[in-house]
């Protein structure tokens, strides 16, 4: 290969190499990159919240599973019918529980059920309680607004009066006078 040929090859190679990486991206490359970068924190946040919700759900299920066997092991049909004095938990009773792991919650459940059993049975639920001072004042104010000051002085008797029976009269429709 003579010198002229060498130079020619060199020139063509330079020409080819010069254009090898002369490319331009599609317009808006920077915008697209920035957009995807801006979406990143939101994605991370949502991931964080999803993970948090998942953890809470797992803990809730674990807690439920932890508590539910204690009920089945401690509250037996016999215990429900027996008097309270016989079913109060004693240290020996707790030690006889099938699993020590559930002993604490078993005692707690027992106390709760005994508190319910010892309360007298009421005729009305929720039980009727006298009005508090605030409720009394509110009732007074309402009656003053709607029924005048005479009843507002002592609203309670009116409130406690039994409701009179409603009377439904016959419907009377009068004829329309005039020419059609």
């Amino acid at each position: 290969m003579n010198r002229e040929q060498e130079e020619n090859v060199d020139r063509i190679l330079d020409l080819l190499l010069a254009n090898y990486s002369a490319v331009e991206p599609r317009p808006g490359l920077e915008g697209r990159i920035l957009e995807s970068l801006r979406s990143q924190p939101a994605n991370r946040a949502s991931g964080f919240w999803l993970a948090s919700v998942a953890v809470v759900a797992v803990l809730a299920i674990a807690g439920w599973m932890f508590r539910s066997p204690s009920r089945t092991t401690t509250v037996s049909p016999a215990a429900m019918t027996e008097p309270r004095s016989e079913q109060s938990p004693t240290p020996s009773a707790v030690s006889q529980a099938p699993s020590r792991l559930f002993a604490t919650s078993a005692i707690r459940d027992d106390r709760r059920s005994s508190a319910v059993l010892h309360q007298p049975r009421r005729e009305q639920f929720p039980s009727a309680t006298p009005l508090s001072e605030q409720e009394h004042l509110l009732a007074t104010y309402v009656l003053q607004q709607h029924h005048g000051s005479a009843t507002a002085r002592d609203p309670m008797p009116r409130l406690e009066q039994p409701m009179a029976e409603l009377e439904i009269r016959n419907l009377e429709i009068s004829l329309i006078e005039g020419k059609p």
């Binding site: 490319v23 697209r32 990143q40």
Partner: protein, 186 residues
């Protein structure tokens, strides 16, 4: 203002500053990263993917950004790692149908300029693909006009003298492949 509030405020300010720095880096260097990716992968969608992924990496370590002295070189190193992971070994292609390339090099570029240019790039693609990997890397990076020999050396983690040596060797091989095509012109 208590200590916790001051710390929170300074954290917010720092985050804002690095976010602005990142946005500046994207505006200044996205095209450079794209060219670097394209030079190796020779595919526009892949080059854009690499550019996106490179800046995702930067975003994940954005707190390092204020400490970076040469952002472009730093970005080039990250991009090179991303590219290297993606780049599959190319199937070496022989310079078949020599007659086609001879006509191409002899063509009058006034007509069908763009098509001819594209074909010449394809020819060079094939020639570069036949080079050993180490030489190919240097040749490809040297075609990016923004990159100096020192920067290529930094990206490839080799001495600058090695870059020069490899480039010289690669050019000799390319010339030897080009010679028969040009010789056939006569």
């Amino acid at each position: 203002m208590d200590v916790a509030a001051q710390a929170a405020l300074s954290d917010v300010i720092a985050t804002h500053v690095v976010t602005e720095m990142l946005e500046d880096a994207v505006r200044q260097h996205a095209r450079f990263v794209y060219k670097l990716a394209y030079a190796v992968l020779r595919n526009h969608p892949e080059a854009e993917d690499v550019t996106q992924e490179t800046f995702m990496h930067v975003w994940r370590r954005v707190k390092q950004l204020p400490e970076v002295k040469d952002q472009r070189a730093w970005l080039a190193r990250i991009a090179w790692r991303v590219i290297s992971r993606r780049h599959k070994r190319r199937v070496e292609q022989s310079l078949d149908s020599q007659g086609r390339w001879v006509q191409l090099l002899a063509a009058d570029t006034d007509a069908e300029e763009e098509l001819i240019q594209r074909e010449r790039i394809t020819l060079l693609d094939r020639m570069v693909a036949t080079l050993p990997r180490q030489l190919r890397q240097v040749v490809v990076l040297s075609t990016i006009e923004e990159l100096s020999g020192a920067e290529i050396a930094e990206i490839l983690q080799i001495p600058e003298s090695s870059v020069r040596g490899r480039l010289l060797r690669a050019r000799q091989i390319l010339q030897s492949k080009l010679q028969p095509l040009i010789g056939g012109k006569k």
